[in-house]
């Protein structure tokens, strides 16, 4: 974005100040998953690249980038472990059995354990 600007004045006041503009499938309505990365907050520590089991992230030039965003299964590992809160994802268990069971019982979403898969 404003990479060419060397000015030291504070950023203009915008909606979501400080977060910058998110990228990723979740930043668009109807995206295949809810994963969003806020590059402005990223410091390039590489934790997301380390924890993601589907190699969605790669740190390039000191910032995380999504190289395989569609493979995201919304486990939430990247969001949990990002020390800068630069990643957002509506994480949850992608299990139809649990979701259908919960819908039929009218309960909140059940996950693996005593109350499900039994």
């Amino acid at each position: 974005m404003a990479e060419s600007c060397n000015c030291t004045s504070p950023k203009p006041m915008l909606i979501g100040i400080g977060d910058g503009v998110p990228v990723g499938p979740g930043s668009k309505p109807g995206g295949i998953n809810t994963l969003m990365l806020f590059p402005d907050k990223c410091t390039g520590c590489g934790r997301c690249q380390q924890v993601c089991p589907h190699r969605v992230f790669e740190v390039k030039g000191g910032k995380a980038a999504m190289v395989n965003a569609d493979a995201c299964m919304e486990c939430g590992a990247c969001m949990m472990n990002c020390p800068e809160s630069a990643i957002k994802v509506d994480s949850g268990v992608g299990c139809a059995m649990a979701m259908i069971k919960a819908a039929l019982k009218g309960s909140k979403e059940v996950t693996c354990g005593d109350d499900c898969c039994n």
Partner: protein, 325 residues
């Protein structure tokens, strides 16, 4: 040192029996080990600390891959649930790590300040928070226990170790539990099919229940589409082929055969499509958004196909008894 427990790097008959029972889903919640700190191969204060869940299969996987390696194994209380599922639930999580680190007096036992967590525990853990609350740095190790020895050599996981795989071996072990999960529906449906349609009914049961729950995991990567429902419907169509061939070889009149074949095809596609959709939670691929989308998009056609199949089967049955054909 009284707070630690001893264990070994070898598994015996007792463990093998426990694993078999776990794999067939017998007393699923009860395959547990006592949470706490375990010593493997006489560790000292410099030995690595590996964190795992208290599901016996998880604990046994970790310790059996520590052949000749002195290490500490810190077992979290995840209520007998494996690392990945417990992390999704949050029981393999920051609070429980903090509790176990403090409860076992780990900082008195080891001189270093590093915990090695399985990578698949990450969805439940805030590594930076563990550091703040315990002083221990979280290191994410490999996904699979078999890569632990290689990881411990230079404390580096290769990209391959960090990418989740779902090989045939991992898929096929799920089959017995799948059979068990559908037992309450499958057995009455099977009996009904045999009573109403004899050998052909038995064929439908064997392919639709025993076969689909075996072949779906086995053929998972080879079935078309990324949508689980479509994979299931495709398998349903495939599994109905032997039944269609059977009906063609038999002496059935043409109209009846057409009704039966269409009933089998639609019924199998609807039912096995649902089996496919329900397999989402057993794989490391399905996202919540994706599953929600599939539920809304594919359950209505699956229900319609199954209901139409059933209606056609009933019509064929009535037709036979009434001598229409």
């Amino acid at each position: 040192m009284s707070l630690t427990m001893d264990t070994t790097d070898t598994l015996g008959g007792k463990e093998r029996n426990d694993h078999i029972l776990a794999r067939i889903g017998y007393k699923r919640g009860e395959h547990r080990v006592t949470p706490g700190l375990y010593r493997v191969n006489g560790p000292d204060d410099k030995s690595p600390v590996l964190v795992t869940s208290n599901y016996s299969l998880s604990f046994d996987a970790v310790r059996s891959h520590l052949k000749g390696i002195a290490a500490w194994v810190l077992v979290l209380d995840t209520k007998g649930i494996n690392v990945w599922c417990a992390a999704g639930k949050g029981t393999f999580g920051t609070d429980e790590i903090v509790r176990q680190v403090k409860g076992t007096g780990l900082e008195e036992i080891v001189s270093h300040r590093r915990l090695i967590l399985p990578q698949l525990g990450a969805p439940g853990v805030k590594a930076h928070e563990v550091k703040e609350r315990t002083g221990f740095v979280v290191e994410y190790g490999p996904i699979r226990a078999e890569d632990i020895p290689a990881y411990l050599k230079d404390r580096k996981a290769t990209p391959e170790m960090r990418q989740v795989q779902f090989p045939a071996k991992d898929r096929v072990v799920l089959v017995p539990v799948e059979w068990r999960n559908y037992l309450k529906l499958g057995i009455p449906a099977g009996l009904l099919l045999v009573v109403l349609a004899g050998w052909f009914g038995l064929g439908v049961f064997l392919l639709g229940y025993v076969g689909s729950l075996f072949f779906f995991p086995l053929l998972f990567p080879y079935l078309p589409s990324k949508k689980f429902s479509i994979k299931g419907m495709a398998l349903g169509a495939l599994l109905s082929l032997p039944l269609l061939a059977w009906s063609w070889l038999g002496p059935m009149p043409l109209v009846e055969m057409a009704l039966v074949d269409l009933a089998v095809l639609l019924g199998m596609m609807g039912v096995v499509g649902y089996v496919g959709l329900n397999f989402t939670g057993s794989t490391p691929y399905a996202s919540r958004t994706g599953v929600k989308d599939e539920i809304f998009r594919f359950i209505p056609p699956m229900v319609a196909m199954s209901a139409t199949g059933l209606a056609l089967a009933v019509a064929a049955g009535i037709g036979i008894y009434a001598g229409w054909f």
